[in-house]
């Protein structure tokens, strides 16, 4: 453990109440928790770790294992508390004094049902404290815990400083709700932290890779589209302009910023504004994927977007987005006329907008002329199969090549070192693992692809993606042929095809150009599949690499700046050719294979280039057959380990690499490297960063650091102004001013209804469905002094009395469950079992208290409007009572008011209501723990599956994967009917008619 970590822990333990620790992202939170666990002794009681996601759990366990290197010492790792444990065993676990991971929902239910003796808890550790609020379940837990055993310390942690400042005095409110007084702020720029981390900094090499011009074009276009969206959004005058910058737009939290501002008026917003917000999200993804995905996958994603977003989106029709699609396509292929003239894309058929393609003038002169029927630039009546040739480009990601060179260089350097060191004693840290070069990228997908790139050639990878892409098209095409009726044209073709379909409802022939393109794609696809079968790569690639050489051979430079002790040897500049075919030819001056004619900036004779390519190609084919990466380029590569940042595993301490290549820069990972280095000061760690020059990637990285610093500064300011009330014993008093709120309401109720039926000391009771503990209403009800009884309810969410049953809907829930029809079903059953079924419509305090503004109501009675749906519901269930609540606190008051003069609800009765008898005894437990609810919901939405037969289906097979394989006869048996079974089976096996 580093000195600053020890300092954090000792500071935290200073206050017996506990405290809130905010550390910079990437600083070792798990090992802080682990050291708390080490200090914990079972005799003091159990230590509960609240709301840790799986990745954090494993990180904490790993940190714990590391902290105790001696294998002989008994190490008790914290275990999960399973949700389906019988109650007596739960109590035993809680009192065992062990460390446990618990979810808030389970813990609160156990606390309320007194399955946890509060005295048995030594301390509570709340992770991800930035998610808390006064009404969250964690606060509920803290309150119950503190009221029963006031001295239990509560420690809260978070490593998301920027979410701690999102909202008014958020940190202070969180601390109050957890009853803690101390805020510990540990930014990266804290003196102790920076001292520790900068004592022996790793050697850093910053490599800026230029993007290809098409990528740049796309980036500019996406940013342009974002800017346009933002401008539109500003025009609505509904958002604070200050936060609306493109820089902010790069972050996920941008949606939060916008949503937080718009939420109070969300239901009053027009469609356009809502669409703008979601468009911004899509655009941010596009920007992100641009540097993460290869050209073909990117195009595929765009294709998908075009189908799914269809005509709804605004940005798809913006001019700049036209460029996005056009350029993305250009990175993969081009359609050219057989006579070498590029087909002009005709926009006359577009009803909305005319677009000129500037490519028309650009002639592709070097294309071999095909013998074909004449193609006019107009290109209307030409047989597409003959008239159009698909020109593959398959631009590989520039980083791939740089990565490969880097790896080669690392290996070379290493060889030199070992040669130099030969004869000397072997240095101590030449373990097997340290040989590994760690490449960190964003996601698993990139990992797999890079692995392919390294083991084979980038071109190979691109080809494969391309083939997959084409084959997908072929399949869909043939599918459309055979059942034209079923496959519906996606409404908008969008701009990829350079035109917008008229949106005609009849099954229109694809427009001319798109037909050309389609046919060309299909032709290429079949050619590809044939050529792969024949195992004949040379011929195919000869011609297109020649073409490519001509089009794309622009010299690119990779400049590298060695920061700190630059050891980057040899020439600092490489000529990097865009065309990956020639990569080893032109990239390194030392390359043995480099032929003199290709080392120049790429302006070379076509013929020689062609020859060259053939050679290399042949070379590649051979090497792939012999399956040896080392032979591939005549250069050996070091062992490489790929690591996905998304997987959230802490891999550095396991692999102990000496060389790390950060393929996708990420602030958190950089911090982790720093900590890793500081913990292993004797290792010679070298870190390479791969940035795309002038890209959004760099901007995002830099902005993330700036943002965190700002958050910390704001937190420090807030800390100096905090006011947290303290009682005589120095304990913190939470947001409730009275420590025993129930007495107040009891007094009130007594005076209000003189001689009321409630005897003194008996609290109001509310039976609450377990699933409702996700919401904050149970918390607030308890705060009001009601006795909350958690059970699993089949019907309704809350039972207030033997007569009153309440189904609670937040606004978004209401809209959703109206749309899905679930609400109808719920009201139906509630009406069946209770005399006073209540639908509670609960608005949120920070959102508007209305469905829509008067202007949005429209002139006619429209069936989709919420008014219509509610009216219909009311007409069909005249007994249903509606309750409209401004916020969760108002709901609690309404509940209390409704409960007056009513009997208390009967717990055991409420549980049995509506439970089908064949289910037998329902255990007193959370349903989600017993059932795969997501699978059941999915099952019930399949065609043919009804309320009547889904249980039988669940009994008939283990899971959905198994269901998918059942034969129709068996399904008919389970579903009790041939027809339903056939409907289901057909749906399961139907081909997806999605893409063009």
């Amino acid at each position: 453990m580093l000195p600053f970590q020890e300092q954090i822990i000792s500071d935290l333990l200073d206050d017996a109440n506990g405290g809130l620790v905010v550390v910079g992202s990437g600083l070792p939170l798990p090992s802080l928790v682990a050291s708390l666990l080490l200090l914990h002794h079972p005799s003091a009681g159990s230590l509960l770790l609240l709301s840790a996601p799986d990745s954090q759990k494993s990180a904490i366990s790993a940190a714990l294992r590391r902290a105790v290197p001696d294998p002989n010492t008994e190490l008790s790792l914290p275990s999960d508390l399973p949700g389906d444990l019988p109650s007596n065993q739960r109590t035993a676990l809680y009192t065992s004094g062990a460390a446990l991971f618990v979810t808030p929902r389970i813990l609160i239910a156990d606390l309320l049902t007194s399955r946890v003796p509060p005295s048995s808890i030594a301390s509570l550790v709340v992770l991800n404290a930035h998610r808390l609020s006064e009404t969250s379940t964690e606060a509920f837990i803290a309150r119950i815990l503190r009221s029963n055993s006031p001295s239990t310390p509560i420690h809260a942690f978070t490593d998301r400083p920027h979410s701690m400042v999102a909202g008014f005095a958020k940190a202070e409110r969180i601390m109050k709700s957890l009853f803690i007084r101390r805020l510990h702020i540990w930014p990266r720029f804290h003196v102790l932290v920076s001292n520790d981390l900068e004592r022996t900094p790793p050697e850093v090499v910053d490599i800026r890779v230029p993007m290809s011009s098409a990528m740049k074009g796309i980036q500019t276009a996406v940013l342009g589209a974002m800017d346009a969206c933002l401008k539109e959004l500003r025009k609505t005058n509904k958002v604070d302009v200050e936060d609306l910058t493109v820089e902010n737009g790069l972050f996920k939290s941008f949606d939060e910023i916008v949503r937080r501002q718009l939420d109070p008026i969300w239901h009053t917003l027009g469609k356009k504004t809502k669409q703008l917000v979601s468009d911004l999200k899509t655009l941010r993804k596009l920007l992100d994927y641009l540097v993460r995905y290869d050209a073909v996958t990117y195009l595929k994603y765009l294709d998908t977007l075009r189908v799914s977003e269809g005509v709804r989106s605004m940005w798809i029709f913006a001019d700049s987005s036209y460029r996005i699609f056009e350029l993305a396509k250009k990175r993969v292929y081009q359609v050219v006329g057989a006579d070498g003239v590029k087909i002009s894309i005709d926009c006359k058929s577009t009803p909305t907008k005319k677009r000129k393609t500037n490519d028309t003038s650009k002639k592709e002169t070097e294309i071999e002329t095909g013998t074909s029927s004449a193609t006019k630039a107009d290109g209307r009546k030409v047989d597409a199969n003959v008239g159009v040739v698909l020109d593959e480009i398959l631009e590989a990601a520039p980083k791939w090549k740089v990565l490969r060179e880097l790896l080669e260089e690392i290996e070379e350097e290493r060889r030199k070192d070992t040669q130099a060191n030969e004869g000397e004693a072997v240095v101590e840290d030449v373990g097997d693992l340290s040989e590994i070069v760690l490449v960190a990228c964003k996601d698993e997908r990139t990992c797999m692809q890079l692995e392919d790139c390294i083991s084979r050639s980038p071109h190979q990878v691109m080809r494969e993606e391309w083939q997959k892409y084409l084959l997908g098209k072929v399949e869909l095409h043939s599918l459309r042929k055979c059942n034209k009726k079923k496959s519906q044209e996606p409404k908008g073709f969008g701009v990829l095809d350079g035109m917008i379909a008229a949106g005609s409802s009849d099954h229109a022939e694809p427009n001319n150009i798109s037909k050309f393109e389609n046919d060309a794609l299909l032709a290429a696809a079949s050619a590809v599949s044939i050529s792969t079968k024949e195992d004949d790569v040379g011929d195919n690639s000869q011609s297109d690499s020649g073409r490519k050489g001509f089009q794309k051979a622009r010299g690119k430079r990779v400049s590298r700046k060695g920061t700190s002790k630059t050891q980057a040897p040899r020439g600092k500049r490489y000529q990097v050719d865009q065309n990956n075919k020639n990569e080893n030819a032109s990239s390194k001056s030392k390359d043995v294979q480099s032929a003199p004619e290709t080392t120049s900036t790429g302006i070379c004779q076509k013929n020689t280039l062609n020859d060259k390519c053939v050679n290399i190609d042949g070379d590649k084919v051979n090497t792939i057959e012999s399956d040896s990466a080392a032979l591939n380029h005549g250069k050996p590569l070091p062992p490489v380990q790929f690591y996905a940042l998304d997987s959230d595993q802490h891999i550095l301490d396991v692999l102990k690499p000496l060389v790390i290549i950060v393929y996708h820069p990420d602030m958190t990972f950089v911090r982790e490297i720093e900590v890793y280095k500081a913990e292993n000061p004797y290792k010679k760690l070298k870190v390479y960063f791969l940035f795309y020059e002038d890209s959004a990637e760099v901007q995002k990285f830099e902005a993330s650091i700036r943002r965190e610093n700002n958050a910390f500064e704001s937190l420090i300011r807030q800390k100096s102004l905090m006011m947290i009330p303290v009682d005589q014993n120095g304990r913190c008093i939470g947001p409730t001013t009275s420590s025993e709120p129930e007495s107040v309401i009891l007094q009130n109720s007594l005076t209000r209804k003189a001689g009321g039926r409630m005897s003194q000391g008996k609290k109001m009771q509310v039976i609450v469905d377990m699933r409702e503990f996700m919401s904050s209403l149970p918390n607030v009800l308890h705060l009001k002094g009601m006795h909350v009884i958690p059970v699993t309810l089949e019907v309704g969410d809350y039972v207030l009395s033997p007569m009153i049953c309440v189904e609670r809907k937040s606004i978004s829930d209401l809209f959703q469950s109206f749309a899905s029809g679930r609400l109808y079903h719920q009201v139906e059953t509630m009406t069946r079992y209770y005399k006073m079924p209540v639908l509670l419509i609960e608005f949120s305090q920070d959102k508007s208290f209305s469905f829509q503004s008067a202007g949005d109501i429209g002139d006619d009675v429209s069936p989709t409007n919420i008014i219509s749906k509610l009216s219909l519901l009311v007409l069909h269930f005249p007994r249903l009572r509606l309750v409209w609540s401004r916020n969760v606190h108002a709901t609690a008051e309404i509940f209390a008011s409704l409960k007056q003069n009513q009997d208390e609800p009967d717990e055991s009765k409420a549980i049995r209501v509506g439970v089908p008898s064949e289910d037998g005894i329902v255990e007193d437990d959370v349903r989600a723990e017993n059932y795969n609810t997501s699978a059941i919901e999915f099952l019930r939405r399949l065609p043919g599956v009804t309320d009547a037969n889904y249980r039988a289906l669940m009994d008939g097979c283990k899971n959905l994967a198994e269901l998918a394989l059942l034969p129709t006869e068996r399904l008919a048996e389970l579903m009790g009917g041939q027809k339903a079974a056939r409907v289901l089976k057909e749906f399961l096996d139907a081909k997806c008619p999605t893409l063009l």
Partner: protein
């Protein structure tokens, strides 16, 4: 006469008490006429509505109760149409809610005269409408059915549905896909992969 009674049946009958209520300007999709009725708005044979604005309620807290009592037991559906026209709603709304609930009335809230008028119109227009519109819908085309099923899994959006569909070819293909295959789809991150995989492969019942 007979035609008059038909007309009466197709129109909302409005009590003379409501004369001058701006709400009447917004009943445009249905005919309405003044008549001697005990409720404020007679919407059908067995349904009626009372109108109350929160501002009025604050001045006359007992008004609603007496109006409801007048209705007696003559109606199946008794709507209290509450116009929310004050800023501080919590207390008056609580009282109105309580009164309506305890006296077997259904409370509907509108925030403008337009909205209140629309409720009355809709209740009249939909008088005999079946409940299909709010029951589970049966989409007929494949893609929306697929969307309907797959988007029930958390975090899965429509774009993902298209991606999954085109990658695996059919729903059974998706359901049978390995984690790795799922991860290869563009736009499907770790979280979604796990969600999808668990949904398809975890048993329906976790405890036997």
């Amino acid at each position: 006469s007979a035609s008059a009674s038909v007309q009466n049946r197709n129109a909302i009958l409005v009590s003379h008490r409501q004369k001058g209520n701006p709400l009447l300007n917004h009943i445009r999709n249905v005919r309405w006429m003044f008549a001697d009725v005990v409720c404020d708005y007679l919407l059908g044979q067995t349904s009626c509505a009372l109108y109350i604005s929160l501002r009025y309620h604050l001045l006359h807290p007992d008004y609603l109760y007496y109006r409801i009592r007048e209705l007696q037991k003559n109606f199946k559906l008794r709507v209290v149409l509450c116009h929310v026209d004050v800023e501080d709603v919590v207390k008056p709304l609580l009282e109105v809610t309580r009164t309506a609930m305890l006296h077997d009335c259904t409370l509907l809230c509108g925030w403008s005269f337009e909205e209140c008028g629309r409720y009355l119109e809709t209740l009249k227009v939909y008088e005999n409408k079946p409940s299909d519109n709010i029951r589970e819908q049966t989409h007929t085309d494949y893609l929306s059915r697929l969307n309907h099923a797959l988007t029930s899994i958390r975090h899965v959006n429509k774009t993902d549905v298209v991606t999954l569909g085109s990658t695996f070819g059919s729903l059974s293909g998706i359901m049978d896909a390995s984690m790795e295959d799922l991860a290869r789809c563009p736009g499907i991150g770790e979280r979604k992969v796990k969600r999808l995989y668990d949904t398809f492969h975890e048993p329906f019942r976790r405890v036997s």
